[in-house]
């Protein structure tokens, strides 16, 4: 538990005491974090109630805790990045409309009573949407939202990590890897030797960059989403749809004649069954990337919903004694979510490699080495 460099000049009872302090502080800070979120909840609800006073008649001091709204607020995309109560970073709003052209402004301009600015209205439904005040105009929302900003951050992290790893390999040609480079080497070699090479076969160099990028992109975004204040990027179905479509395009632009022959004439199928097999195969072509998309999206979103529901339980019961039990269970769930983050990145990469391998495999005589 204690940092490794301290263990050399510290005795065991002191180490144990410091570990105990760390664990206690961590367990206690979990409910405090949720308390901070709940504070912001009641402030936001008061602002909303003040604005829509025609609709919401009751202005009681004790607002009802709406767990559905809290969960959706943390899962959905947003035009500002909220790390904690009061620590909100407004993000740029970039809108393109055919009559007004490109407009860009900060989303903090929407912090007035009507959520309105410059002819645009920010709707707070399940997810935030910018609609023009004049309904007839079409507006394309190209803003840097929370998910986009988080993706840019993870892209920066990936470039930094792999830039340094590549530099380390270049400067230490032929000698053993050291430090962070050796940690990355474990993951990279695992993907290359266990995932890509067995499934794609001898021509794997062509697809290795894409599959490694895919694995680390999904992994870094999964892990960033688990941090407090993190954005739910891979739990956004548009992101997973894009990744699945890229895999789909790569598979079909690299497929050979055998792959298409399998679609219209699967081997070993008697002629009478062909009218059934062909639609099944064609549906299968589209179901594979669809299942990739849904699997990653649902796993990540479900995990976040579970954690948020657990913390919300403290406020549904309105009791501080529920907090230690819930925090311990949520800690356990957090560890499971970290494991799921790794597994889902691995599964996405493995299935992409298998689909690419099945599209480029040459002959039936050469079997996979089982």
């Amino acid at each position: 538990m204690t940092p490794a460099y301290l263990t050399c000049f510290m005795s065991t009872p002191i180490r144990r005491f410091i570990s105990f302090v760390f664990v206690t502080v961590f367990l206690i800070s979990n409910p405090l974090r949720s308390l901070a979120q709940a504070d912001h909840k009641s402030v936001a609800q008061e602002i909303n109630a003040a604005e829509h006073e025609l609709e919401h008649r009751l202005e009681t001091n004790e607002e009802e805790f709406d767990i559905g709204e809290m969960i959706m607020h943390h899962i959905a995309d947003s035009h500002e990045w909220e790390f904690a109560h009061g620590v909100v970073i407004p993000l740029p709003v970039i809108l393109y409309s055919p009559d007004r052209g490109l407009e860009a402004f900060m989303s903090s301009n929407f912090h007035n009573t009507n959520h309105e600015y410059n002819g645009y209205h920010l709707e707070h439904g399940d997810s935030e949407k910018i609609v023009p005040a004049d309904e007839s105009r079409t507006v394309y929302d190209l803003s840097i939202t929370k998910n986009v900003a988080s993706m840019l951050l993870s892209a920066l992290i990936l470039v930094l990590i792999f830039g340094s790893v590549a530099k380390a390999y270049n400067s230490r040609k032929g000698s053993a890897p050291r430090g962070f480079q050796s940690a990355m080497e474990v993951l990279i070699l695992f993907i290359r030797d266990e995932v890509v090479k067995p499934n794609i076969g001898p021509n794997y160099h062509k697809y290795l960059p894409y599959l490694l990028t895919l694995f680390f992109f999904v992994l870094v975004n999964n892990l960033l989403g688990l941090l407090p204040g993190g954005a739910n990027v891979t739990g956004n179905i548009a992101v997973t749809l894009t990744l699945a479509v890229i895999t789909f395009l790569i598979v079909h632009f690299n497929s050979n004649k055998h792959y298409w022959m399998h679609l219209v004439k699967p081997t070993g199928v008697p002629l009478a069954l062909l009218p059934i097999m062909i639609p099944v195969e064609i549906v299968g072509v589209f179901m594979k990337p669809f299942s990739l998309m849904i699997r990653l999206f649902a796993n990540m979103t479900a995990g976040h919903i579970i954690l948020l529901s657990l913390f919300g339980l403290i406020f549904i019961f309105k009791s501080i004694f529920v907090a230690p039990v819930v925090s311990a269970f949520a800690l356990f769930m957090n560890f499971i979510e970290i494991m799921v983050a790794f597994i889902q990145a691995f599964i996405f990469t493995l299935l992409s490699a298998m689909y690419i391998g099945s599209a480029i495999e040459d002959n039936h005589e050469a079997d996979h080495s089982h």
Binding site: D126, I294, R295, A298, N299, Q344, I347
Partner: protein, 87 residues
């Protein structure tokens, strides 16, 4: 008798029958996933017990198949979510 109580509760609670259906569906999907992955885990344990040297390969295959089964259960969970949020 139980069904009558359930239907009455769904009607009076204001959430509607669709949301109750979504809840039951999600529960059934969880049962399905639990059964499927439980069987996989059991077979994997047996295989590792028979041949401990193959433990690494068996474990990898177990994780892959568990993820595939879980994907199907999550299909159902996503549909239940869609129903309960009325999309």
């Amino acid at each position: 008798m139980l069904l009558q109580i359930l239907l009455q509760a769904a009607e009076q609670s204001g959430a509607g029958l669709a949301v109750m259906g979504a809840g039951i569906g999600a529960g059934l999907a969880a049962i399905g996933a639990g059964l499927g992955i439980g069987r996989i885990g059991g077979s994997a344990m047996e295989g590792i017990a028979r041949q401990p040297e193959a433990a690494g390969r068996i474990q990898t295959a177990m994780l892959i198949i568990a993820a595939l089964i879980e994907a199907v259960a999550l299909f159902a969970a996503v549909i239940c979510l869609l129903i309960s949020f009325k999309l």
